[in-house]
Structures are given as C-alpha cells and as structure tokens.
C-alpha cells in the first residue's frame, strides 16, 4: 500500500531545509531548495514558528482533475503520479491545489509536484516528517 507524506511534528522542525535540499537534488537535479516540492517557511520570522507546504495526498486530488493533458493521475492511496513528458505547462494544477502545495517552476515552465517518494523524510534530522 502506498504511503503518504505527513508533517505532523512541525513543532520539532529546526528549519534546516535538509528536506528541501534533498527533494531538489533528487527529483529536480538542482542545488536550489526553491525547486523542492516541500517548502518550509517561517510565519512571522524565526521568533515564531515554522510551517510547511506539502502535498496533502488527496485521494480525489483536484490537481489531477484540473489537469487536462493527462500529466497528473490519482494514485490509488492518495497523491498523484506526474508524467512530465505529457505536461504542457498550463499551470492549472497550481491553481487547483487549494493547499498551496504546487508551485510553478518558471525556469522550465513545469509545475513542481510531490510524487510521494519519501526522499525528504530520509533527510529530516528531527523526525518531523514521516511516510504513513
């Protein structure tokens, strides 16, 4: 059964961005954490708390519904598969994700989509992230 990324321990997050760096290098082959499908940020500066924007693993994902070029399809257990070759870069999925988890990569004109691979979890030093 496929697992879904969870970030239910965000109070433990130290803001190291190791997860973002891991996603960017593994999936996008880029050094820049801006390319990651997981985005850590602070709310009100570093004195307050850190939050995360991640794919919520919808079982009936609106991003896939909005995709009219068959680049996104629902996974059986939640989340989506992304077929990059089929994507034409319309950005409908970005609009459709009301959790704000999909961003558009202006460099290559494609969305940055979480594929629930779990790489970020492996590089979280504080057990903030998990696949379940």
């Amino acid at each position: 059964m496929g697992k879904i990324l969870h970030a239910d321990q965000m109070k433990k997050c130290i803001g190291c961005y190791s997860c973002m760096l891991a996603c960017a290098r593994t999936i996008q082959h880029d050094f820049s954490p801006r390319k990651a499908a997981i985005q850590i940020r602070s709310v009100g500066g570093l004195q307050s708390r850190l939050v995360v924007d991640i794919c919520r693993g919808c079982t009936d994902p609106p991003c896939a519904l909005a995709c009219n070029c068959s680049a996104l399809s629902a996974r059986l257990d939640g989340g989506v598969r992304f077929y990059k070759d089929k994507c034409i870069g319309c950005g409908n999925c970005v609009e459709a994700c009301t959790a704000g988890a999909i961003r558009f990569d202006e460099d290559n004109k494609r969305p940055i989509v979480c594929i629930q691979c779990g790489t970020c979890v492996k590089y979280c030093p504080h057990e903030v992230l998990s696949m379940k």
């Binding site: 190291c16 820049s32 801006r34």
Partner: protein, 579 residues
C-alpha cells in the same frame, strides 16, 4: 591552486546609487569567504582613512559550498574595525549563505555613504535603494518585521539590519542577521551606521543545475551522515556551547566579576544544564545545517499586577552567559535574558558590552569614574543599572558616555584602569581564561577573536600533552592557517571535525574545483600572510602588545601565569609567523 571558475562580485556605491557587477577569473583561487573578502578588501581599503570614512568598503562573501553542503552556512564580512582601527572580520549564519548563493553573487562590496538613510534589497536580477528613513531609530526586531513584510524572496532571503547602537556609531555595534545570528564583533554595525545603511535584504531564488547528481549525492550523504548519525556534532545540538559554563567554572577558567575570579559560585544557576531545564523552548538551525545548535529560551516577565505576563524568545549560548552573566556576577537566567534582550534590540555586540560593563564596575569601585558622570552606579549582579548604562552608551548624553561608546580599551587608556581592562589587541576578551595559548591567540589572531585559532582549546591540549613553548605557538599558527581554509569555504567552525581535508576535496569536486590537501594548506598559508600584510598597513604592531595585570593575578585552569613567559611566547610567535 586550481583556477576553475569565475567569481561574480557585486559592487554597490551608496553615494552614487550605482552598482557594478564583475565576473572575475583572477579571484577564483580564493574561492570565497575569508580568502575572497581579504583579497577584495586589500583592493578597496582606504588605508589612510578613518574606519568610518565613507570611502571604506564593507566586503561580504559566501563560499563555493555555501548552502549545498551540510553546515556550509556562513558568510564573512571584512571591514576596517571602528573598535580597534585594524582588521575587522566577522562571520554570520542563519539564512545568509542560501540567500547569497542563490542570489548569484559570491561577494558584495558596499562603498560610499548614502545621502539619507537607506536600505538595500538585492536579488538575482536587481538591486534597489530603498528609503530607510522610516526604519531609522527602530530596534532590530521591528526593523526585521517591516523588512519581512515589504521585501521579496520569502524563505530564501536574509535580513541584515542595525539597531540604534549602529546608527549612533557605537564602536562595537553589530549587524543583526535574521534575528538570531549576527556579524557580532568589531563594530560592523557602526560602519553601516556611518554609511546611513540601515539594512540589507538579500534574496535568492535562482536555480543551479547539479553537474553530476550521483557524485554529489554520494559526497553529500557521507558528510550528512557524519553530522547526523555520529556524535561529532552532538555537543552543539544537545546542551550547546553553554554546556561549558559549569565545566569551565569547575576547572577555574570561567572569567567571573571582571576576572577577579576564575570560577563562579552561582554557575549552577546559569549553566547550560540549568538553562535547558528551566527556560529552553526550542532549537533552530542555520539553513543547510541539520544540527540545530541555536538554543532559544523564553523570558517570561510579570509586567503588571494581576498576572500580566509578557514573553520574549531569545537565543543564548556560552559567550552570552559568560559576558552578560558570570563576568558581571549575574546570578539568574532572568537577569541574563534581560541583558541579552537589550543588546539584541539595540544591536550591539554582547561580548564587548559585557567586558566593558565589567571594567566599568571595577573602575567605579576604584574611583576611576564617578556616579555624577555615570548617573547610575555599576554594580555586579545589578542588571537594571547595567541596562541603564547601555542605554546611555547608545544615547551618549555626555563626554564619558561618548568615550564608553568607543569600547573598553580607549576608555581605559583615557581614564585609567588599564591594569584590569580585559582587552587583547584592543578587542574585548572572549570567555576563556585558560592560559598562555588563549592570551597569545587573542593577541596575535587576525581579529583578536577566540575563533581565530582556538587558543583556549590549545591550552587544554598543551596541559594534557606537556607541550613545549614552541609547540604551543606552532599549534596556534597552524590552527589559524587551517581556519582560513574553513572560513574561505564558509563552513561553520563547529563542523571543523567533519570537514577534513579529504571531505573538503570531495565536496569541492562536486562544484568543479579540483584540489589536493596540499593545495588547501597553501591557500591557508597565503591568506594568513596577506592578512598580516594588510593588518600592518592598518596600524597593527605585533611588537607593541600589552597585557593587563589582571591576566597574571588570577590563575588560569589552576596555573599562575607569568608576564615573562607570555612575552617569551610572543617573541617565538613573531619569529615563527615572520612578523
């Protein structure tokens, strides 16, 4: 040295409101950080002009590994110090490395003086000169809040700002970086203030394709493993550096009450263990560091009857607890937090502020300064009075306070009390009284900082191994040279055991730089000599070092120190360093 890439340098002229971007091949052998900033400072420095003259440059530099390898989190600032008149160098972390890297500039040079208060926003494709007038006068936290609200690049930006201390050109004013880190020492804040530069927001969202993904992943993983799955970094994440308070107090190496003592009878109340138990609420990390050494504690304060509380979240570490704690005879965490909060908001260096207050307390006791001039009595363990004094150091209502704003050394030179002024090379001492290597390292080190060569650590090694005098000096010089390498890469010095020569060479190979361990040594050596040449031109005189009597009156780690031995060691240093 291998010359494999081009260094992109952004030069900003505040007077003309113009920028120049240069891609320079000639700088590539210096990589970044301290090596690159040293080379650029040598080019741009106005040797015949005052540290606060508009012509003086500020050079900021990150390194080739910045943000893409674990713990490569620092940036280096080089400037002429208004505190010492000499070499100014300070390092800061948090988000500055990631912001600079993905902004695309390895170095940023700031020159000139703005016509009116200004702040800069610097991105990959633009530099904007923003009117800083509404921010002028604001403390560092409110300045940061407004910058976050109005500037681009959220999550990938770094907010550098000064507080009122920098605006008033207090010689030890700092530059706050992203709330919890600082270009702390030697007065960069005053240089910003003199340039009417309130703040800089650097943001970076550019992409950078990885040349060899598989190789990078292998090298990254091996370094990440050392950081996370071994015990090398645990001391920094666990209790943090404050774990040394109780340990050094027990050994007789914790400067207390202006170093009249070397251990503190209340160390158990302000130890790292006590802070962790009572007030630690979370830890945070610089971007790209999986360790998380920044310890945040809460100061809960009753501000009115009826259970009216306010709370402040402040970072603490060893140096803060020493400088604003034991050195001032402060006995509770709450008092230390109140002092930390004031130096944070006003934007001044905590170590310098603490050493100055400690000197002032003793100077007052001995009649060197009077209550009439001060308006308030400096008394050990009285943080309320200390805060009032710090406020007046910022406001400078009279001649005495204008002098105190110049730092301990100049105040003691003018008023007396040099025999108990805890400065070395005109810079206020860090929190170690461990022996000769510490005193020597602080005196000769490029920036007169314990981070130059870790003399305090060499003292303990020397005691264990019964080092000869020459061995002690050789260790200090070798450590300083090696740290020039680490600081050119901008890796955190806490990670120095992770970044071995082998690991550095492997990491550099991922960004197309091919070097050997021998090349690394050569670079460290070269930077050491260039820095010393510049320092001599700035007025540093290694033959004219002075040591306060106090260092010899209070034993260090149980050992009585002699002035003669220290002078002998200094002579050995000059010979071996060729200065």
């Amino acid at each position: 040295m291998t010359n494999t890439s081009t260094i992109r340098v952004l030069e900003i002229d505040l007077t003309e409101k113009k920028i120049i971007v240069q891609d320079r091949d000639d700088l590539a052998p210096f990589w970044g950080g301290t090596g690159l900033a040293t080379r650029l400072f040598a080019e741009y420095a106005a040797y015949d002009k005052d540290p606060l003259d508009p012509a003086q440059p500020v050079v900021l530099a990150c390194g080739p590994l910045s943000a893409i390898f674990p713990m490569a989190t620092k940036a280096v600032a080089v400037f002429r110090s208004p505190l010492t008149g000499e070499w100014g160098e300070s390092h800061a972390g948090m988000r500055i490395a990631i912001a600079m890297r993905f902004c695309g500039f390895r170095a940023i040079i700031i020159r000139g003086k703005a016509e009116r208060p200004v702040y800069l926003t610097i991105g990959p494709n633009r530099v904007d000169f923003q009117d800083g007038t509404p921010l002028w006068g604001l403390p560092t936290d409110e300045t940061g809040r407004i910058l976050r609200q109005t500037s681009p690049g959220r999550s990938f930006r770094s907010c550098l700002r000064i507080g009122p201390a920098g605006e008033k050109q207090v010689a030890f004013a700092n530059v706050n970086v992203d709330t919890y880190r600082h270009f702390g020492r030697l007065g960069l804040g005053a240089v910003f203030g003199a340039k009417l530069l309130k703040a800089m927001v650097i943001y970076g969202e550019a992409s950078e394709p990885i040349p060899d993904v598989k190789h990078y992943r292998e090298v990254y993983d091996s370094i990440y493993h050392l950081a996370v799955n071994t015990d090398i970094m645990e001391k920094y994440h666990g209790l943090g550096t404050s774990g040394n308070i109780a340990a050094l107090s027990a050994l007789g190496g914790l400067p207390t009450e202006n170093l009249r003592k070397n251990s503190f009878h209340r160390s158990s109340a302000i130890s790292g263990e006590a802070f962790a138990r009572d007030t630690l609420v979370r830890k945070v990390a610089c971007t790209g560091c999986p360790v998380g050494c920044i310890h945040i504690g809460v100061r809960r304060k009753l501000f009115a009857p009826g259970h009216e509380y306010e709370a402040a979240y402040l970072s603490y570490d060893y140096e803060l607890i020493f400088a604003l704690g034991s050195l001032l005879g402060i006995t509770t965490q709450e008092q230390i937090y109140d002092l930390i909060e004031y130096v944070e908001m006003s934007g001044m260096d905590a170590i310098t502020a603490g050493v100055l207050l400690a000197w002032l307390t003793e100077a007052y006791q001995k009649g060197v300064v009077t209550k009439e001039e001060l308006g308030v009595e400096p008394v050990f363990n009285n943080e309320t009075n200390y805060i009032r004094i710090l406020e007046d150091i910022v406001n400078q209502p009279n001649t005495l306070y204008r002098l105190l704003a110049c730092g301990t050394n100049r105040a003691a030179q003018k008023l007396g009390g040099q025999e108990f002024a805890l400065t070395l090379g005109n810079n206020e001492m860090a929190g170690y009284h461990t022996g000769y290597a510490n005193l020597l390292g602080l005196s000769f080190g490029t920036r007169h900082s314990h981070l130059d060569n870790a003399g305090y650590s060499i003292d303990q090694k020397a005691l264990r191994n019964n080092f000869s005098r020459e061995q002690i000096v050789r260790e200090i010089i070798a450590e300083e040279k090696w740290r020039n390498v680490l600081n050119s890469l901008c890796v955190c010095l806490f990670a120095r055991e992770v970044y071995t020569k082998e690991n550095i060479c492997a990491a550099l190979s991922c960004v197309g730089i091919t070097v050997t361990g021998e090349d690394l040594d050569k670079l460290g050596e070269e930077i050491f000599h260039i820095k010393n040449q510049i320092r001599l031109k700035l007025g540093y005189n290694p033959n004219n070092l002075t040591f306060a009597d106090r260092y010899f009156e209070t034993p260090a780690l149980g050992q009585e120190l002699s002035r003669q031995t220290l002078n002998d060691l200094a002579a050995i240093y000059r010979r071996l360093a060729g200065i």
